[in-house]
């Protein structure tokens, strides 16, 4: 079975979070499933479209689903939770609203892709790769304490996404456990990091990420695992600024779950993009033996 790949703007090559995309690709080459980029995909509109123009947001998202359907993908992987959330919500919106569906079809000049299943990265790993990972695991990071940070978009709105518990999700924790590291029990798994305000209201982001980082450190975490480019950008890139404003130095590596899986499969840290982070990830890389 082949799975359509919708990287989205943030993690495609030459973008701010390209290491997420790189590591997802590398991992899939080892443990599957086969993922193929959907030809000519476009931006889902992300927060800016849905925050200001519902119809535009829906049309931009649904165009990608329609493309996926055109190229006969039954399931697509959207590793960026902003994208997967937007795609799933838009799919539901056109299903529930006949008038909107017609308008969208008129705009995208294609029938709405209603049958494609959109999966986030954790779902793909849990549904297809756990056995493979168990077989091919080369290194483990025993004792590496990881705070799994899910953020907002993977779990909310729960009734639409239908993925894991919105208050205390476990999927990433299970994956972390499966690759031999130790998930910590902490309280900020699904707290908001400020998301798209990273440029426009950096002050908000800095405050929220400070709380999250503090929670992780207090729970004894050596690193925070994420599955979202926005969470990553805010937690990783803004630590310097927090240092300045809150006089608190965390220096805690923020790694993608795909990077952790890659390390446990014995893949090189450069290929996984671990050199592209703002906070040095050496402590995580070195924890693998």
């Amino acid at each position: 079975m082949k799975i359509g790949y919708y990287p989205g703007c943030a993690i495609t090559r030459g973008s701010s979070s390209e290491e997420y995309g790189m590591s997802v690709m590398k991992v899939s080459q080892v443990v599957g499933p086969v993922i193929e980029e959907i030809p000519d995909w476009n931006c889902c509109g992300a927060s800016s479209a849905h925050a200001t123009n519902h119809k535009l947001s829906t049309a931009l998202s649904v165009r990608n689903l329609s493309l996926a359907e055109k190229y006969e993908y039954k399931e697509i992987l959207a590793p960026c939770p902003m994208c997967s959330q937007r795609l799933i919500i838009s799919q539901k919106d056109v299903q529930d609203d006949e008038a909107l569906r017609k308008e969208v079809e008129d705009a995208i000049e294609m029938p709405c892709g209603s049958s494609v299943k959109v999966s986030n990265y954790l779902e793909i790993i849990k549904n297809y790769c756990m056995d493979e990972i168990a077989q091919k695991i080369k290194k483990s990071a025993k004792g590496l304490k990881v705070a799994c940070y899910y953020g907002c978009l993977l779990v909310r709105p729960p009734k639409v996404l239908k993925f894991d518990d919105p208050e205390d999700p476990q999927s990433m924790d299970e994956i972390v456990k499966a690759i031999g590291a130790q998930p910590v029990d902490w309280e900020f798994k699904t707290n908001c990091c400020g998301g798209g305000f990273t440029l426009s209201r950096t002050d908000v982001v800095v405050k929220l990420t400070n709380d999250i980082l503090e929670g992780a450190v207090e729970a004894g975490a050596d690193a925070i695992a994420v599955a979202c480019p926005m969470c990553h950008a805010n937690l990783d890139m803004r630590q310097k600024k927090i240092e300045k404003e809150y006089k608190r130095k965390f220096n805690i590596p923020i790694v993608y779950i795909s990077e952790l899986i890659g390390l446990s499969l014995g893949l090189g840290s450069i290929g996984l993009g671990l050199d592209k982070h703002f906070v040095d990830t050496k402590s995580v890389v070195n924890a693998y033996s």
Binding site: G14, C43, G45, A51, H54, E103, R156, P157, M237
Partner: protein
């Protein structure tokens, strides 16, 4: 603040208008305040989330649409997730933002946020995907005061090969611009 209610202004229909537009049942909110209690950005807001709903409920149209709150909402959906009455509060913020833009009521104090959205969407419109460098460029032009803000971070990103100057054009970018045209707000 004083809210005037009389027959000629018919302001109490605002909740209905919102419901008609979005399907969100604003009247079902019984003002327990759980949305406010859990909102990560509420501390910055001029009206608490529950007050925004209240403004809609009692028909204070202008107050709701000109609030800073609607722009400060980070769309984290914590409020809707925990709402005992399942009122879609985060989604309500989307609708109010859309209405505020349509009526030119967006609060100028949150211009950073609206300018960001504009720059973002312009990039999508032009290329089909986001080209971060060019989007940033446009945003900084629009909001010169923020120009210095990320002077440390951006070059580092470029250094790590994470920001490309090549625009991410897609083949179907004409189709995308047609989508923009057809979805243009009234």
């Amino acid at each position: 603040m004083k809210i005037k209610i009389n027959l000629s202004e018919r302001s109490s229909d605002f909740a209905k208008e919102v419901e008609k537009r979005s399907g969100i049942k604003v009247k079902e909110c019984y003002q327990c305040g759980k949305c406010t209690a859990g909102c990560p950005v509420a501390y910055e807001m001029d009206y608490m989330p529950n007050q925004i709903i209240r403004l809609v409920q009692i028909g204070a149209r202008r107050e709701a649409l000109t609030s800073r709150t609607i722009w400060l909402c980070a769309s984290c959906i914590t409020c809707s997730t925990r709402c005992p009455k399942e009122v879609k509060i985060a989604e309500l913020m989307d609708v109010l933002r859309e209405m505020a833009l349509e009526e030119n009521l967006a609060n100028p104090l949150e211009k950073n946020i609206t300018a960001f959205h504009e720059s973002f969407l312009n990039s999508v419109k032009k290329h089909g995907r986001i080209s971060e460098v060019w989007m940033l460029n446009e945003y900084k032009m629009k909001r010169p005061k923020t120009a210095l803000q990320d002077l440390v971070v951006a070059p580092q990103m470029i250094g790590k090969g994470k920001l490309s100057f090549l625009p991410h054009n897609i083949k179907g970018k004409d189709a995308i611009s047609r989508i923009f045209k057809k979805c243009k707000p009234k």
